[in-house]
Amino acid sequence: MTSRRQFLALVPGALVAGGAAAQLDPNIQALRAAALEAAIRKITGGKPVRAGKVKLQVPPLVDNGNTVPLSVSVDSPMTAADHVAAIHVLTEKNPQPYVVSAYLGPRAGRASIATRARIADTGRVIAIAQLSDGSFWSDTVPVVVTLSACLEDGLI
């Protein structure tokens, strides 16, 4: 039970947090889009990213954004001459776009990874694979999130 005195001590902090949220709001979408674009450019070095070869599996409807199972597999023979060098997973609406970057080689045998991510809001999840010949391939999946990660007991 929170006493009146404790409550009054908490109020300024809550106001500061609320203020921070209000300051973030106006063009947050543009900022996130720019951050995502910058992250993709950093991964690819400006090379074109083509759709295909990559299969990203994420549940389309996520109850709890704190733990979202996802798996990425890439259609590749995984030989020394033709293999997947890296798999990157990005999200559209998180405070930072990066989720995980995995670096594989021909010794992986199969280009498939699985992990669990936090997703802050309804939006796209993007997997980008870099092949040994320097080309980039991607898959994009729209995801609906009902309980957001990041904010559950922070700002509220």
């Binding site: 001590a9 908490l10 300024p12 902090g13 809550a14 106001l15 500061v16 947090a17 921070a20 704190n66 733990t67 979202v68 798996s71 999200t91 998180n94 405070p95 930072q96 990066y98 989720v99 995980v100 970057s101 995995a102 670096y103 594989l104 080689g105 010794r107 992986a108 045998g109 199969r110 498939s112 990874i113 699985a114 992990t115 669990r116 991510a117 936090r118 997703i119 990660a149 990041c150 904010l151 007991d153 922070g154 700002l155």
Partner: protein, 106 residues
């Protein structure tokens, strides 16, 4: 104190693709959450996992705050020869954990 678990099949045929599952017990604090009094909770995450097979690196992952708590990472490798797989996690605030698993290739 750092709790980590790896799941590697104990024996495999030569050339077979084996699936490896790794789990590290860690809160993966994002650095974006605030306390009740409005202060930011500093970031505290695992940033890297490296897997070596008899001393040769076969898998490396860079983790970011958007990884769920207790990061689970599943990947594959070719069973080339008998030996050990070494796993090394490193992270913020000097976090380091290692684990190894033996594999017999027939």
């Amino acid at each position: 104190m750092a709790r980590v678990v790896v799941n590697v099949p104990p024996r495999a045929k030569r050339g077979e693709v084996i699936e490896i599952r790794t789990l590290a017990g860690h809160v993966m604090e994002t650095g974006f959450r605030r306390t009740q009094t409005g202060e930011l909770i500093p970031r505290d995450i695992i940033t890297q996992l490296v897997c070596t097979y008899n001393g040769v690196e076969v898998f490396r992952a860079e983790l970011h705050p958007a990884m769920a708590a207790n990061p689970l990472i599943t990947f594959t490798t070719v069973a080339a020869e008998s030996g050990t797989l070494e796993f090394k996690w490193t992270g913020d605030n000097g976090y380091a954990a290692t684990q190894s698993a033996a594999i017999t290739v027939v």
